[in-house]
Symmetry: C2
Amino acid sequence: LLTLILAETALETIPKKIHSHFSIRNYSKRKIKPLKRLLLERSIHHSAMQKLNNNKKRGRPDIAHMVLLQALNSPLNKEGYLKIYVHTNNDFVITVNPITRIPRNYNQFIGLMEQLFSIYRVPPEGEILLELERKTLQELLFEIKVDYVLLFSTEGKLKTIKEAICNIPPKSKPVIIIGGFPQGSFSKETLKLVDEIVCVDSKVLDALTITSRAIYEYEISIKLPEKRVLNS
Amino acid sequence: LLTLILAETALETIPKKIHSHFSIRNYSKRKIKPLKRLLLERSIHHSAMQKLNNNKKRGRPDIAHMVLLQALNSPLNKEGYLKIYVHTNNDFVITVNPITRIPRNYNQFIGLMEQLFSIYRVPPEGEILLELERKTLQELLFEIKVDYVLLFSTEGKLKTIKEAICNIPPKSKPVIIIGGFPQGSFSKETLKLVDEIVCVDSKVLDALTITSRAIYEYEISIKLPEKRVLNS
């Protein structure tokens, strides 16, 4: 079983600090929803976001959307070998049920996340698919009892993704941490929690690319592609 | 150089046949744009789409969006070894300049595509990034003078993606064709144009997964990951 954590993800509701900004007030009226139930989005709230600390790392729910689509649709997940968590920049954690079908349409995904941040679970009744809790990355790692944590960052040791995945100790319960933010670095607190930091390219690779390649290399390491082709 | 063609892609403006549908007329009013300049989207036009032939294969611009983001941000493209075309279900072809930065936000991407289908090029002036032309897949393949065409389909011969990419004849100018539609099969006309059809999984893999893995395996076949890590 591989655990994938998208960490410090740029996914949050519109913070109080900018609720009084005129563009934000207009947006709330247009959406007919209270501000605390609307997601922060760089593409819409760019000017108001200038007032926020660390704003370059924030307001990009599209990153979580694409990573979740990619990871949940992978053969690794379909075989039941993948567990996914989304840790956010404000220390919330979304626990993702592997059978979840994330909406492919971006606007529907935003609606779903707004529902999740409002009632902390989706769907409102029945089997939980997405659950939101206040939790730090440290608490999450402690809770899921991992024994090897690999983090991808340009500040890490140079290795190809294949080498990084092959080096995961056999029989361990590994966790892969990928940054869910558009720019900048992981916080020092996050870097302290990991066993190994690797840098897999001469340039920054986006979260989607790292996710797809890490999952694929893990599948190769357990010979899943051959098994799936043989079982056809 | 690898050429990637996303074929029979579910990307088109709202067809005339449903212009008179009340939900479509309302949509046009809300968008304050004429219908022929608006994209067909399953998530919005679902009920009107029931009247269209072959409607399960249509109205999914999100597929092209994610594939373009993934492919353009790959190290293969950054190194200048990838050429991308999008062939649509209505026989248009979008030629993608490798330096194009596709908007990550879905709604901005839709706006860009609507501009492209309206004036056939983006941006309106200066170096062309995206160009739209009436062209069949056959005409495109003839024009780009390829010598090996590999197509991914569940109807093909069983192979892993690694085997399929490794079997590309050395020194050839290969083309990989991936379906840009959500359900159904390639047309017979498309299947006639290719050298090899491969099936790489026991289930249907989505276009995003196939794209990321095929590009990554091609990078591995030319030892790009090692080179990029060494050059850091």
